[in-house]
Symmetry: C2
Amino acid sequence: MTIQLYDLAAADERILFSPFCWRVRMALLHKGLPFAVAPWRFSAREATAASGHDAVPVLRDGERWVGDSWDIVTYLDETYPARPALLPPPSGAAHARLVGALCGSLVFPAAVAIAVYQAWRILDADSQPYFRASREKMFGCSLEALHAEEGEGRAGLARALKPFDEVLAVHDYLGGAAPTHADYMLFGVLKWTDIVSSYDPIDHATPSGRWFDRLQASHGGYAASAPTVRG
Amino acid sequence: MTIQLYDLAAADERILFSPFCWRVRMALLHKGLPFAVAPWRFSAREATAASGHDAVPVLRDGERWVGDSWDIVTYLDETYPARPALLPPPSGAAHARLVGALCGSLVFPAAVAIAVYQAWRILDADSQPYFRASREKMFGCSLEALHAEEGEGRAGLARALKPFDEVLAVHDYLGGAAPTHADYMLFGVLKWTDIVSSYDPIDHATPSGRWFDRLQASHGGYAASAPTVRG
């Protein structure tokens, strides 16, 4: 039975934009595991009620439900050890966690200013009130107040990516010569931003911009071909 | 012939404090390679003239001279592949580079405020004018203006270490269950700060503080037993 990935959808259900779901989607491609996407909405959480999780990503693999993007990734490496490792020993898990910590302290704060208001705009009307209330509580201001215009948004994101630029000026991927989940931790945040933003948020002339484009093109251009609000 | 490590010394030549030399010293211990330290001073650079490098660390391994801490570490892994890897494949080099980038953008700026003025104080009188002039040019202010008092210095360093705390709350080392050069990249910066500071700059109750103490205790307490300005 094909793995099912429950994934946050916009009102237009072709637009799948959650950063945490993108981490998992890239992880499934990396493992070479076939999967089908089940669009999920805040306004219809009952779809994953059987999993015990009320947020996505949630994965169903046969009779097994797994939630939380990090738990899903460790599940995939443990369950499918013969396929390419996401968290290769000895350091893969600690390395990916460091990238995750930097996403939290550096990259998400810059990306939020580009993406959160735009994400609200593209949700279905029934999901919007929950999303607005929960995010305005989280950030302590209105979604509109959070929103950065193009120049400011792109400059802030470029600044946040500078430590990664130093690595990616030398190595093709954060994982070295090939991507690991360290790469997908960061890619998920940028792909979310890219999909929902009204402008292209990525500076493609930087090492991290070129790395983003390499991952966009990987697996037959899977990520590059995902619909965005810009088409 | 035992490896010679040319290492920056204070006026009291038992005090060896360079962050880059500490990275190399921990790397040599990790590889289990015997080495002897040759104290080096800015006022007597001719000691390493034959290497083509006018800054330390410089390593002499038989007839081979190697300078620059990163080049020394890659030399050690290439030359002694049967000994424990510092940059274990597939991601060790890219991982250590990411930690190096974070040292540059987060940790050094916090550590400099604690350590640079103190480092000047403990140098031999003939090295002090060069050190003051080069560092005041580098930072654009006097060493005294750079200096942070205890509360401010410790708080700034603790803030800079927060991304590492997230990893070290789960893993014993940045490299996972055992240290890699990713660990020594950060340890070198903190050990420098620890040795020259007039106060203990480390919050030993945090995950990164406990990690620092684990590395201090490693290899028979080698780093813990190194003389500091506090004794």
